[in-house]
């Protein structure tokens, strides 16, 4: 069995809550079937207080093997490098010190969620708490553990980014560590698992027909494409939200609001309102990934001219007004 320890710091606990949404099979069965033993998890385990301190000490003195260390939440270095914004309860020691010690012992170290990966929401505005990710501070390599850090298995920190993470992103990454012995090619430039970041949120978006014809929503709740006016970053965001789906059948765009690219570093500071598309001369500043700008402009104006009436009207409505026309083989 592979021993897994989970710690939480400067975050909201939402990645754990999301993880508990794992289905077919449930979380405990998935871990057990993968041969993963939950050494301790703050929301799930029986051990508390002295029992927990005992587990941590045994890992550090080498009498207990730590195969996988998962850290959820940003690492808080402030005020003035003291780490006092999070002293790990009952220990009198800052969480950043515990994480530094324990990560040296772990075969793999995982950042769960965009906070632990890159700093995330806690770093927004002036980053009062001097929060950082484990091995990235925003897009810059470094973070708490430093750019040179590698775990016992010679791997950098694995960033299962997302705000929150999808439960399968975590369980599949954990399974792959146990089963596949993955190498650095299995991860992207931000060390995110390519098993979910080789896709765009745009892929599988139910608004794609509106996107094709640039039939756009202008208010929350309207059915049209949200790229032109509503700040949607689905054409640039690396994640499989619209093919994998959340909580049975959902995704952000399916619920009528913009993708804010929460798997990316620095998503928390878009430098404009999240739900308004910044434009220059009427053209959105952020264009779809890999799309040449001139082609985008040309195709957009062409497709806008060809927008069917059905899409034009449905795009500005909360409910479908016009269903697609029925084609009959025998025309009377």
């Amino acid at each position: 069995m592979a021993n897994l320890l989970w710690l939480q710091s400067g975050g909201c606990g939402g990645c754990t809550m999301s993880l508990l949404n794992a289905e077919n099979p449930d979380l405990m069965s998935t871990l057990k079937n993968a041969g993963i033993n939950l050494l301790w998890h703050p929301s799930l385990s029986e051990e508390t207080g002295a029992e927990v301190r005992d587990i941590l000490e045994k890992i550090i003195d080498g009498t207990l093997t730590l195969d996988i260390l998962c850290v959820e939440g940003a690492l808080l270095r402030g005020p003035h490098g003291t780490g006092r914004y999070h002293i790990f309860g009952g220990t009198g020691i800052p969480m950043i010190d515990w994480v530094e010690q324990l990560s040296k012992k772990a075969n793999y170290t995982l950042a769960i969620g965009s906070c632990a990966a890159f700093g995330g929401v806690t770093t927004a505005s002036d980053n009062i708490t001097d929060a950082t990710g484990l091995q990235f501070e925003g897009e810059l390599r470094g973070g708490l553990l430093g750019s040179e850090f590698t775990s016992q298995k010679a791997m950098p920190v694995i960033n299962v980014a997302g705000c929150p993470v999808h439960p399968d992103w975590v369980t599949e990454t954990l399974m792959s560590l146990v089963i596949d012995n993955p190498s650095e090619e299995d991860f992207d430039e931000f060390t995110r698992p390519r098993l979910y970041t080789d896709q765009l949120v745009h892929h599988g978006c139910t608004r794609n027909e509106y996107y094709e014809y640039k039939a756009s929503a202008e208010q929350p709740g309207e059915l049209g494409c949200m790229m032109e006016h509503m700040g949607c970053l689905g054409t640039q965001a690396h994640a499989d939200c619209n093919t994998r789906l959340w909580n049975g059948q959902g995704s952000c765009t399916r619920a009528g609001y913009a993708c804010i690219n929460c798997t990316a570093p620095e998503f928390e500071e878009p430098r404009h309102s999240f739900t308004e598309t910044p434009k220059i001369a009427g053209i959105p500043v952020g264009l779809p990934t890999d799309m040449p700008k001139a082609w985008f402009v040309a195709l957009a104006s062409l497709s806008k001219a060809a927008t069917p009436e059905r899409l034009k009207h449905n795009a500005r409505s909360e409910q479908l007004i016009y269903p697609p026309t029925l084609h009959k083989k025998n025309k009377s």
């Binding site: 449930d26 029986e46 929150p164 619920a255 913009a258």
Partner: protein, 488 residues
Amino acid sequence: MSRLLVGPFNRVEGDLDIALEVENNRVTSAKVNSTLYRGFEQILIGKRAIDALVYTPRICGICSISQSIACARALADLSNIAITANGERSHNLLLANESLTDLLTHFYLFFMPDFARDIYREKSWYDATKKRFKAVEGEATKTVLPARAKFLHVMGVMAGRWPHTLCIQPGGSSKAISRHERLRLLATLADFRSFLENTLFGDNLDNINAIQSISDFEHWINQEDYTQSDLRWFMHLSRDLELSTFGRTDSQLLSYGNFTEDKASLIKRGIWTPANGLQNLPLDKITEDISHSWMDGDAKKALHPTVGATDVSLQSSEKPDAYSWCKAPRLDGDVFETGALARAVISGNPLFNELIHSQGANVNTRVIARLLELAKIVPEMQRWATELDITEPYCNNKPMLADGQGVGLTEAARGSLGHWIEVKDNHISRYQIIAPTTWNFSPRDIDNKPGALEKSLEGAPVQNGEKDPVSVQHIVRSFDPCMVCTVH
């Protein structure tokens, strides 16, 4: 006298430690320390008002919808935006989906596993309880996790995902429910209802909701063996361990009210005190004291959230007498407890009226209130879903005002949550949040009055040699704490 530092606490949704003073095997004094500070109230200053809808759910991944709703209500209040009827139904369904998920998760995953601890091995109920409720590997977890995940399909349909949706808007929801989605919701809710009836209650919800008095409840419990349902199981343990003697506060209760329908609310707003019973809630008398918090500011001046501030520094982290990042909310200078028990008493539930008079607020009454709230709200969810009207709008997109103040109040699973916002030129100039566990787990105030948990720990039994007294575990978790919300 001996001292115990208990922590890290787990199954409390965040981090926590508690310093206890113990004399003659009883806790004589407790200091509760919320150990994590993130600074949302500072992060929000200078942001576009509408972007608060992105940041505030991320205060808490457990109460994410509740945070979104408090924020949306504050923005609606500021700009005088009326919510659509469908929007109200959507908000009610989403809030209930999150809160009931929490009540269920708390009971099975966070609260009950403490009864499977080795310390109870001599008890007649121990073997069966360990088999059913042991953390991680207990039988109950195997059925509860899939039921919980399926129930949250309501979020998949109505919010896109959970936690952290952006569908909740001041004027309603960005997700209009289509004909087939409404039916899908009804199917999911009926399935969850069956799960509760089969597993938690061992009876249909109508019978549970018909319990109107302590004698009704006793009669119902005694109808079957304790292993027949998990509510009976809890009552069996509670009687044996006399949990009604654990974790008593002064029983001063607070509820902001919840689940509005055309301006009325299903859960009532108000306060209840043993001296004066049910009263109106004077919102202007809420203050936050920082005398024992690691915060900068005038320790002698407790401020209302409309003029409150949150400032921290290296100096404040070394403040003498301070021992927590949590502020101390008070109502007219008094300590109040919030949560499902407060909601039941303040809403006039006759069973809880009897219970609060005979036992006060304690571990037993807090847990019963939480479980019976599940029975009460699920049929309401079914009604709201039935009433979703696909011919009517979901979102009132009236524009926001550039300047003003607003307040947004709601009930998260663990109690009263309030957001107070001030906006100048479309940007946030002040944002103050008082979360439920801020009330329940507050430190002392300037008069040295302990917070609700601190008070409830006084008198807790400590057995010889216990490092993490099991009574303290039960009492702490009976509040369904949410530590990440507490300090934010």
